[in-house]
Symmetry: C2
Subunit: 95 residues, 2 copies
C-alpha cells in the first residue's frame, strides 16, 4: 500500500540537495545554498548526513585561495533518490 520513505531523503533540505545533484553532476556549496535558500549551518549538517550515508561524495578543494566544497551524487544516492520518488508516489495518487 504505502511504501516506506527513506528517512534520510524525507527531509525538505536533503531532498532539495539531492534533487539538485541528480541533474547537476556536481555543485558547489554556495550554489546549493543559494538554490535551496538554506542557512550555511543547516546545509553543512545535511551535506554531512548525505555524505555519511554514501548518497553523495564531498570534495574539499580550493578555488584560487579560497576553500571550495564540491558535492556529487553517488550511484547509491541516485538509486535511493529514485526509490524515494517511487515510494512517495504511492502517497500522492500521481498517475
Amino acid at each position: 500500500m504505502f511504501e516506506p520513505l527513506d528517512p534520510l531523503l524525507h527531509s525538505e533540505l536533503r531532498l532539495a540537495i539531492m534533487s539538485l545533484l541528480v541533474s547537476a553532476e556536481e555543485a558547489e556549496f554556495p550554489y546549493i545554498k543559494e538554490q535551496t535558500g538554506a542557512t550555511a549551518g543547516n546545509l553543512s549538517v545535511q551535506i554531512d548526513k548525505l555524505s555519511a550515508a554514501g548518497y553523495i561524495e564531498v570534495e574539499k578543494t580550493f578555488k584560487g585561495k579560497r576553500p571550495c566544497t564540491i558535492c556529487r551524487i553517488t550511484p547509491e544516492g541516485l538509486k535511493a533518490f529514485e526509490d524515494y520518488v517511487k515510494a512517495i508516489k504511492s502517497y500522492l495518487q500521481v498517475k
Copy 2:
C-alpha cells in the same frame, strides 16, 4: 525553484492518513491503523494534529456498544494535500 513543503503533511504517517482520506470519503480509526501499519498511539497523535489544523474532521460515535472514531478530509485539507503534491513534485523531477 523548490516550493516549501507544508510541515504538517511532510510526515510519513500524516501523509498516509491524508492519502487514504482523499480517496475514501471517510475512514474509521482501525481501518486507517491497518492500512498504514501505524501503532494506535502514533495514529491517535497524528489524527489530532490533522484535526487541530482543520485538515480533517473527526467524529466520535459508537458502533453498537463500542466507540468508533471516523475521519473525513475537509475542503481545506484537500486543498493542502493538493498543494503539497504540487510542491513536492518540484523536488522529484516528475513530469
